[in-house]
């Protein structure tokens, strides 16, 4: 639990408090990086950037407006998107889409998180980013459009194609 005292001590630059906050969110942020398929060798630098941003912007965090966890997640996502933008997102055109599939995952099925991660790691960068932002992180298409500098309709179509690819992948794994 990150208390106001820890945040205050972080603002004062106390390493012991920074360590507590760092350790508390390490697994969560590492999971987000993996969800966006950041390469292992680049995760360290990216995580450092995220934490630097967190500590230096901590004064802007307002506990009344929400949980620090979601504030930290938004910072991490912005950093990851910046990173991907610099690297160049791989946007796949329509020609490489699979044929229509009929398989839908059952809502009652239990999937291991690692298995789900493996599934979305097969997606092209652009699809995976939009899928993560929309399905997992709950961003609207308008917000995704603003974040990725694409139109809302592009976001919708990217998500639709990502879902089709995932259906295809799930189907092939089933069989």
């Amino acid at each position: 639990m990150i208390t106001n005292n820890i945040i205050k001590a972080c603002l004062e630059g106390k390493p012991s408090a920074q360590k507590v906050l760092y350790a508390h969110f390490l697994g969560y942020l590492y999971g987000i990086c993996r969800r966006f398929s950041i390469k292992e060798q680049e995760i360290k630098d990216l995580m450092q950037e995220i934490y630097i941003e967190i500590f230096s912007s901590l004064s802007k965090f307002d506990p009344d407006k929400g949980d620090i966890k979601y504030w930290i997640k938004s910072i991490a996502i912005h950093k990851i998107l910046n990173y991907q933008r610099k690297k160049g997102l791989e946007w796949v055109d329509r020609a490489s889409l699979p044929e229509s599939t009929s398989y839908l995952p059952s809502v009652n099925e239990k999937y291991d998180a690692e298995y789900l991660l493996q599934l979305i790691s097969f997606l092209p960068d652009g699809y995976r980013t939009v899928f993560n932002l929309s399905v997992v992180d709950g961003y609207s298409h308008k917000e995704i459009g603003q974040l990725l500098n694409i139109s809302e309709s592009s976001s919708r179509s990217q998500l639709s194609r990502a879902k089709k690819l995932l259906q295809e992948k799930l189907l092939s794994m089933k069989t």
Partner: protein, 422 residues
């Protein structure tokens, strides 16, 4: 309501914590790098120091000008006073002046009389009378052409002297101070309107949520000086309070700077390009070559601008003399803004327009404004104004940039202009 089958991803991944975290992500491994990049909590955030210096300088120049003009006029008035006495002493007063010394002086006139002791005029001592001008007018109006010449007749006779000297000779030979030549409004007792038109430089700090130059020295956005203009109408009340409103227009600009090259395929899907960016004064020229055999040079121009129209509702406190005015104002303002950014990418020689990307955001937000204004009167009820102020938007400019999400920008401005009282 049926559940989206893809919610399994949300449920499985939204709080995903990997079972194993690599040791190279431990605090001990990363603390040094993180702490080295953090700003010192005891040092304040970097601000455009030169801007504050400029604003300070403008303030000093304004106040200095006021001081110089005030002291110059004071010395002129002092220099003119003996001249009045000389004129007064050289006047040949009619006999009624002599006789008036025996007459009782009117009550009104005696209330504020000040004895000067000896005088160039004949005894009794000349009295300085602080009569308001309207009394002078009344006395003048009461003169009958048929009546014997009275001392009041000297008022119109001596009026031209007041152009040179700030005093009149009163009926009993008293000296009457009059209002300075350059204002027609009794500023201390009258409510009046004033209209101000001003323009000048503006700079803004976007207050990005994310990266800043300290953390990512190779990539950041740099604020540029923009411009602003304001038309303002004020109603000054007796209590020195003033109410102001009007229209302000601002155009703010910034540059996007990248001192690096990187792979990108934002503009041509599946075509990685290496972008080399050269910053020029007004735009950012981007030259990049693709990795397909052969080299292509492409020119891209990037622009980022903010245009705002604001309607302020300000309340102010005003210190006024006939020569200068100092006003502090503050209050809310309603801002209609339009943020634009975009790229225009054209292959060299204008052969192919590879891409054009534009984003525009329009909205209305509330802001706060505080301002200091110094005015120096240069002619009858005309003033030269110096304004320095600060504006803070209370709402976010929902505006995504390479450097992060802009929010609640801080705007500083300095303007000069003219003002008219009426």
């Amino acid at each position: 309501m049926s559940k989206d089958p893809f919610d399994i991803f949300k449920e499985g991944l939204q709080d995903y914590h990997p079972k194993e975290i690599p040791s190279w992500l431990s605090w001990e491994e990363n603390a040094e790098a993180i702490q080295a990049a953090l700003p010192n909590p005891n040092s304040k955030k970097r601000r455009p120091f030169w801007l504050f210096l400029c604003l300070l300088l403008m303030g000093f120049v304004g106040l200095g000008s006021v001081y110089l003009l005030t002291s110059k006029r004071s010395s002129q008035e002092k220099a003119n006073t003996p001249e009045v006495n000389e004129h007064s002493s050289s006047l040949s007063l009619p006999s009624t002046v002599e006789s008036s010394k025996d007459q009782p002086v009117e009550d009104e006139a005696t209330e504020e009389n000040i004895s000067l002791g000896s005088s160039p005029l004949s005894s009794p001592p000349v009295l300085l009378t602080l009569l308001p001008d309207n009394r002078v007018g009344e006395k003048s109006a009461s003169i009958s052409p048929s009546s014997p010449v009275e001392t009041t007749n000297f008022i119109p006779t001596l009026q031209p002297l007041s152009v040179e000297a700030p005093f009149l000779l009163a009926p009993t030979g008293n000296i009457i101070p009059v209002k300075p030549w350059h204002t027609s409004i009794d500023l201390s007792n009258t409510q009046y309107w004033s209209l101000h038109l001003s323009g000048g430089a503006t700079i803004f700090q976007p207050n990005y949520v994310l990266s800043s130059p300290e953390q990512d020295p190779a990539s950041f956005e740099e604020e540029l000086i923009g411009w602003s203009a304001a038309l303002r109408m004020s109603r000054v009340l007796k209590s020195r309070l003033s109410l102001s409103t009007g229209v302000e227009i601002q155009r703010l600009r910034y540059l996007f700077k990248l001192d690096e090259s990187f792979q990108v395929n934002l503009f041509r899907p599946n075509t990685p390009d290496t972008i080399l960016i050269n910053r020029t004064r007004r735009d950012t020229s981007i030259i990049f070559t693709d990795t397909i055999p052969g080299t292509r040079r492409i020119l891209a121009r990037q622009y980022n601008s903010h245009f705002r129209i604001a309607i302020p509702l300000l309340i102010g406190y005003q210190l006024t003399t006939p020569k200068w005015t100092q006003t502090l104002r503050a209050g809310p303002q309603f801002q209609l803004y339009r943020n634009s950014q975009g790229y225009t990418i054209i292959e060299e020689e204008g052969m192919v327009n590879i891409g054009k990307r534009e984003a525009e955001e329009v909205g209305i937000i509330l802001g706060l404004q505080a301002e200091y204004e110094s005015g120096i009167e240069i002619a009858a009820d005309w003033m030269i104004l110096t304004q320095i102020g600060i504006q803070k938007s209370l709402g976010k400019w929902a505006y995504e940039t390479e450097a992060g999400l802009s929010q609640k920008p801080l705007i500083l401005y300095g303007r000069i202009g003219i003002g008219k009282r009426f």
